[in-house]
């Protein structure tokens, strides 16, 4: 069989290879130019909008999260930290009265007070008489200026104990995702009614997670959104992060982690969801990169299936649904899935953990990053699977600085780290013995 080429063909091959490499050179130049531009922008302008937002933020820190604690036999420090991480990712730091705290409280304090955006104040209160060992949310009040007030109370212990009060500010957009912790099943209906709580069914039936499917958005002929300056493509970023995330999740754990695509190829949305079904996946996480009309905007947001909240979300869903080969009949069947309470509950909670962890950590290195929160939107890829499924928009490539960041492997690795933390946080939360009830959520506002 002939498999040799003639001299002319060989010359053409070398020319084509040269062109590929020349593009790679330009890729590098584009980034350097971009960095230079960023530096000159920072030197030349005062960011009045962010200065204003900062002043509003400082002025607005006055919500109170109060919780009383003692020796806590039924509630781990990790879970307690998870609660605080979930409800208070945007507060301001302080602490006092470390003395006479029991070990878990000290640990909790140490874990949280290093976070610059959390204010936690512990104050010793008078000794209380022992009552039932139970955690519960006591009251819930919305406060003005984007901040909310939440009050937790703990009834605890057989031994005499000290009560402590944690005071923290809570930002409104994440406030509704409050997790209510109970160490026993005796949950007063009045308490549940107070916050319109539902018990997650997966917790109730102790359903386990064995297989996680990660879906790197776009691929092959569909590049997704493309960086304006460097030509960096969404399909490249999502695949790279998905691969890293897979490796991280597989390390030291029993999960089977699968990718809907492990290479740069076109995979339809239907094929992605079928892949999850065929492999009997228990969780589905779709990774995407956002692009916004305004270059200065930069946000992270996480979706689970539902009606869209605003026109921007609808347009985003339209964009991400491009290439779907679902039929109308498929949709009718899938609408049935929409009523699946378990999926919705779990998707919502998974979205909350991933979004909180992602934003909380990314915000530490980029103060301008906005938290668009968890949202519902009609993404086909989320509707097509009957398991907890989320779509996370990890960053905005339309933002110049973010485009530079995303071109760095170490930055993408950190994003994979944060996604892993969010997923593990959710899984650990589910694995806990206690029943965790979650307040009904609506959606974070984009600030």
């Amino acid at each position: 069989m002939p498999n040799k080429v003639n001299k002319v063909q060989k010359k053409q091959i070398l020319q084509a290879l040269y062109e590929d490499n020349a593009k790679l050179q330009h890729f590098q130049l584009g980034k350097a130019e971009l960095q230079e531009q960023e530096v000159s922008t920072k030197q030349g302008n005062v960011d009045w909008l962010n200065l204003f937002l900062f002043l509003v933020l400082v002025g607005g820190v006055w919500g109170v999260l109060s919780y009383s604690s003692a020796f806590s036999p039924g509630l781990s420090t990790e879970k307690l930290a998870a609660v605080l991480m979930t409800v208070a990712p945007k507060t301001v730091a302080a602490e006092k009265s470390k003395e006479s705290l029991s070990y878990p409280e000290q640990e909790l304090l140490a874990e949280n007070t290093h976070i610059p955006d959390i204010e936690i104040t512990l104050q010793q209160k008078k000794e209380s008489s022992p009552v039932k060992n139970r955690w519960g949310m006591h009251s819930f009040t919305t406060m003005p200026v984007n901040w909310s007030r939440v009050f937790f109370e703990r009834e605890a212990g057989e031994k005499p104990f000290y009560q402590y009060e944690i005071v923290a500010a809570v930002r409104k957009p994440v406030l509704p995702e409050i997790i209510l912790e109970h160490v026993d099943l005796d949950i007063p209906e009045t308490l549940l009614g107070l916050i319109d709580t539902q018990l997650p069914l997966a917790q109730l039936f102790s359903l386990q997670v064995h297989t996680i499917v990660i879906d790197p958005g776009h691929g092959g002929r569909d590049p997704g959104t493309i960086g304006r300056r460097t030509g960096l493509m969404e399909k490249e970023i999502t695949l790279d992060i998905a691969r890293m995330l897979k490796a991280k999740l597989e390390k030291n754990s029993q999960f089977k982690v699968l990718l809907t695509r492990d290479s740069d190829r076109s995979v339809s949305l239907k094929e992605r969801t079928e892949f999850a079904r065929e492999n009997q996946a228990d969780l589905f996480i779709s990774i995407h990169v956002n692009s916004l009309p305004n270059e200065s905007d930069n946000l992270v947001e996480t979706f689970f299936f539902g009606a869209y909240q605003d026109v921007r979300d609808a347009r985003l869903a339209e964009k991400e649904n491009k290439g779907s080969d679902f039929t109308l009949g498929d949709f009718t069947e899938m609408i049935r899935v929409l009523g699946d309470t378990l999926k919705t509950q779990e998707s919502q909670q998974l979205a909350q953990f991933v979004q909180s962890t992602l934003f909380f950590n990314m915000n530490k290195e980029n103060e301008k990053l906005a938290n668009a929160g968890i949202k519902t939107a009609p993404f086909v890829v989320l509707l097509g699977v009957e398991i907890p499924a989320i779509l996370t928009e990890i960053a905005c490539i339309s933002n110049n600085q973010e485009e530079v960041n995303l071109s760095e492997s170490s930055y993408r690795r950190r994003i994979a780290d944060y996604l892993e933390l969010g997923i593990r946080g959710y899984l650990e939360h589910r694995a806990s013995d206690s029943i965790i009830a979650q307040g009904v959520t609506q959606h974070g506002s984009y600030q």
Binding site: M1, P2, N3, K4, V5, Q9, K10, K11, Q12, I13, L14, Q15, A16, L17, Y18, D20, N21, A22, L24, Q25, F27, Q28, G220, G231, L232, M233, E236, I237, L239, D240, R243, D262, S263, D264, R265, S407, E408, S409, S410, R412, R413
Partner: protein, 348 residues
């Protein structure tokens, strides 16, 4: 200077295959040298004094791993974590490979470096930035493509390069392959090692195994196919060396990467121009260290029977083929194009 070129006595053309397990360098005088892809730095002043070096590369690093901060900086053919340390380790590795190539201070060096078939542009850029520091000009090229170029098999051929980190596929049809012509699987040689380690630990809980030991077992005895082979190896049990038969576990581990390879072959060929599919089926070339698994050609031929009859052949020098092909490629590249790809910041 060992490496010379037909274009100029002071010009050195170098092909590099940066592999997860082994890295290979080839120069235009026909030499081919390889080194294990490990880089280590002494843990403390005691280790430094004992080793007498600031950095150790390859098998020497592996040998003294307990005294070193050891790095295996490449995973799946690209930088593993994208950290400073990985970048530093790759730089040390490349510097060592250039030393092995015989290139000297002041030489004009043109390098072609192989990367996995589906390496992302950002991965290629990272390799380019790191290796480029040593080169007057640098070409980044898909590994199976460089193998094909070295063999002159540039038309109607499917190249399968089975490495440690990736299995790379590339259909050659007389031009530079595009994305649709290439695939990479990440279940490759390292995956076999992990499987083998798990299987052996389960079958012989009383014995101690390490990843390095099982890698050596695989490289020395690895096989696939129907044959039931007795493979006796010596392993420590309670500090005493004992012979055990690992034939069954070895076969299972080695065969674990083959189903996705078969699927990918079918997927790639069936997606190609139907008029040329038969020619591709009769020209499937197996390269890379993994192609040395005993019985591989027969296994794949048999597995493909249900699809269509295919003809596989292993190349003679699977370890050097990628680097040699890359070297030939950069040697053939017209001078003006090399100049256009020139690195102005090259220290040389």
């Amino acid at each position: 200077m060992v490496a010379t070129s037909k274009k100029s006595k002071n010009v050195c053309f170098v092909g590099i295959d940066l592999g997860t397990s082994r890295s290979v360098v080839s120069t235009s005088n026909g030499t081919c040298e390889w080194v294990e892809s490990y880089v280590g730095w002494p843990k403390d002043f005691v280790a430094r004094k004992m080793l007498g070096k600031n950095v150790l590369i390859g098998s020497e690093a592996l040998e003294h791993r307990h005294s070193l901060h050891l790095s295996r900086p490449l995973a799946n053919g690209v930088f593993k974590d994208g950290t400073e340390q990985d970048s530093k380790a790759v730089k040390e590795l490349v510097a060592h490979l250039l030393e092995l190539s015989g290139a000297e201070e002041g030489d004009q060096i043109h390098i072609a470096v192989g990367v996995p078939a589906e390496a992302l542009k950002i991965n290629k850029k990272a390799i380019k930035d790191t290796v480029g520091a040593y080169a007057d000009s640098l070409i980044v090229v898909s590994e199976p493509f460089s193998v094909a170029y070295g063999l002159g098999a540039l038309d109607n051929t499917l190249i399968i390069d089975i490495g440690a980190g990736t299995v790379d596929f590339c259909i050659m049809h007389g031009t530079v392959p595009n994305d649709e012509d290439q695939r990479s699987l990440t279940t490759a040689g390292d995956y076999i090692d992990e499987q083998l380690l798990d299987l052996l630990q389960e079958a012989h809980p009383e014995s101690k195994f390490s990843l390095n030991m099982v890698r050596n077992f695989k490289e020395e005895h690895g096989f696939v196919g129907n044959a039931k082979k007795k493979v006796m190896v010596k392993v420590p049990v309670d500090g005493k060396f004992t012979s055990i038969n690992i034939g069954n576990e070895l076969k299972i581990a080695c065969e674990s990467i083959l189903p996705p390879i078969v699927e990918t072959i079918i997927g790639l060929i069936s997606g190609f121009d139907p008029e040329f599919q038969e020619r591709i089926r009769q020209n499937i070339i197996l390269a890379g260290g993994g192609s040395q698994l005993e019985g591989l050609e027969e296994y794949l031929t048999d597995a493909m029977k249900n699809f269509e009859s295919c003809k596989f052949r292993c190349i003679e020098d699977p370890l050097c083929a990628g680097a040699m092909g890359a070297m030939e490629l950069v040697t053939d590249m017209p001078e003006e194009l090399l100049e256009a790809l020139g690195n102005e910041e090259s220290p040389r």
